[in-house]
């Protein structure tokens, strides 16, 4: 493979000597320049992505990352390509996680809420704890759009969920 030119596009700023912060990648400590995104910080540390990296522009949902900060009880979720590292950040990438995904024939299903009950009865177990909204890396009001579906207001649900990038990728019956 050709020699790596580190001034190439993405990697450029990582070479300049900068203030370092400590991050913990799946428990292991690395010193990385601050102001890098998680993705670039992990590459700086020597990781090469196979999974967990996609468009690098915040739209494909491949790089969902869970992280915690010292002294903070919250669990945060962000996109690795969009979230800037912070000192002491503990992070791990979202593993493959199969969502319950219905198959359907768009021509054959109607627009009544019962079509949704049939496909996703679990919606009706929602307790409005709002954890979904809190973890959404796209700032989508998940709880509200789930509510809208239950109320049969699909237009509102579509609008509210429009920016979803499907970071928990709903796989189903996939070979390979």
């Amino acid at each position: 493979m050709s020699t790596t030119d580190t001034t190439k596009g993405e990697s450029k700023e990582t070479t300049s000597g900068k203030e370092l912060v400590s991050i913990f990648v799946m428990g292991k400590k690395y010193e990385v320049p601050k102001n890098l995104t998680i993705m670039k910080a992990m590459e700086y540390a020597g990781y090469k992505y196979i999974r967990g990296c996609g468009c690098r522009g915040g739209i494909c949902g491949a790089c969902g990352t869970v992280y915690r900060k010292p002294g903070d009880y919250h669990i945060y979720v962000g996109l690795a390509c969009q979230t800037v590292v912070e000192d002491g950040m503990y992070l791990t990438q979202l593993p493959f996680f199969p969502a319950n995904r219905a198959t359907y024939n768009l021509e054959a299903i109607g627009s009544d809420p019962e079509e949704v009950y049939k496909k996703y009865p679990e919606l009706f177990r929602c307790v409005a704890c709002n954890a979904c909204t809190k973890v959404c890396p796209m700032d989508i009001s998940v709880m509200d759009y789930i509510s809208a579906i239950k109320q049969g207001d699909f237009e509102k649900a579509t609008e509210l969920s429009f920016d979803c990038i499907q970071c928990i990728f709903p796989f189903e019956n996939y070979g390979g």
Partner: protein
């Protein structure tokens, strides 16, 4: 007058025939029911496990929406929603320990201390509008219609949230009389319709429904009126199953009180969405000439 209004999921879909005539009727009486922005499902049943606070989050969030609107009263039409919201409200008002835990958990919301008053639409009609005023506005008196008021469980039990004392209940009676119809009080008026058991144990559900229908019929009712979409489903839509099982039973049309009110106020069948009711309601209304009168 404007007042915050919580319709509930079912009223937005299966029970539009309760929501639409209710909103229209109140409008005709000079009240604008303002649907809460961002409301969510209340959870339908109040959580009975003492250590379960998670299921209180949904109704409390709805109450917080009321405060966010700068309002302190919430009108609810669906009986189950009313029961759940009112009980959650009471708990937030009275149990400081649980209130604290819930407020702390919902850090993204403002604190809630039970400031809102949760009112059922029936009580609102009596207390804020008054039977007299309603009577003056009646355009199509439902004369000659014999109606059995069906309260079910959630309007009257438990006592802490009962819309009126169960033994001295008059709300439905007064409303029916105000509309010019005849009240047929019957013993099963406050019996349980089997509620969610219709899903878990459908046979038991149908038996329970049959008894209620039989009771109403034996006292001479021509129709049943209710304020709960689950009661309406069990007594109305599933009535066919009961009729199939019991030869003696006759068809007994089941209405929401909001439909009868809208009709009596002369708003016509259009706002009543009778097509969502499940048994001979239009036939009965036509035979009584209530539909043409408007």
């Amino acid at each position: 007058m404007k007042i915050s209004y919580y319709p509930g999921c079912t009223l937005k879909t299966k029970a539009k025939n309760m929501d639409c005539p209710g909103v229209a009727a109140l409008n005709a009486l000079g009240v604008e029911l303002v649907e809460l922005p961002r409301w969510n499902c209340c959870g339908a049943v109040f959580s009975l496990a003492d250590d379960d606070l998670l299921h209180l989050l949904a109704p409390v969030r709805d109450l917080i929406r009321v405060v966010e609107q700068g309002d302190n009263k919430l009108v609810v039409a669906c009986s189950m929603c009313y029961n759940t919201l009112a009980r959650a409200n009471l708990l937030m008002r009275e149990n400081s320990e649980k209130r604290h835990t819930i407020n702390t958990f919902m850090e993204e919301e403002r604190d809630y201390n039970g400031e809102v008053e949760v009112v059922h639409l029936l009580s609102f009609l009596r207390d804020e509008i008054g039977w007299e005023k309603i009577k003056e506005s009646i355009k199509v008196p439902l004369r000659g219609l014999k109606i059995a008021p069906y309260y079910g469980c959630t309007l009257l039990r438990p006592q802490s949230v009962a819309i009126e004392p169960p033994e001295k209940r008059t709300l439905f009676k007064d409303l029916i009389e105000t509309m010019g119809a005849t009240v047929v009080d019957f013993p099963a008026s406050t019996d349980c319709c089997s509620s969610y058991q219709i899903l878990s144990n459908p046979d038991i559900g149908i038996e329970t429904v049959s008894k209620i229908l039989e009771s109403a019929e034996s006292w001479g009712a021509e129709a049943i009126v209710t304020s709960c979409p689950l009661c309406e489903y069990n007594l109305g839509k599933r009535q066919e199953d009961a009729l199939r099982k019991h030869d003696k039973l006759k068809e007994l049309p089941t209405f929401y009180f909001t439909q009868l009110l809208a009709l009596a106020l002369g708003l016509g069948a259009e706002v009543c969405n009778f097509e969502l009711n499940h048994n001979g309601v239009v036939r009965l209304m036509e035979s009584k000439k209530f539909l043409t009168a408007a």
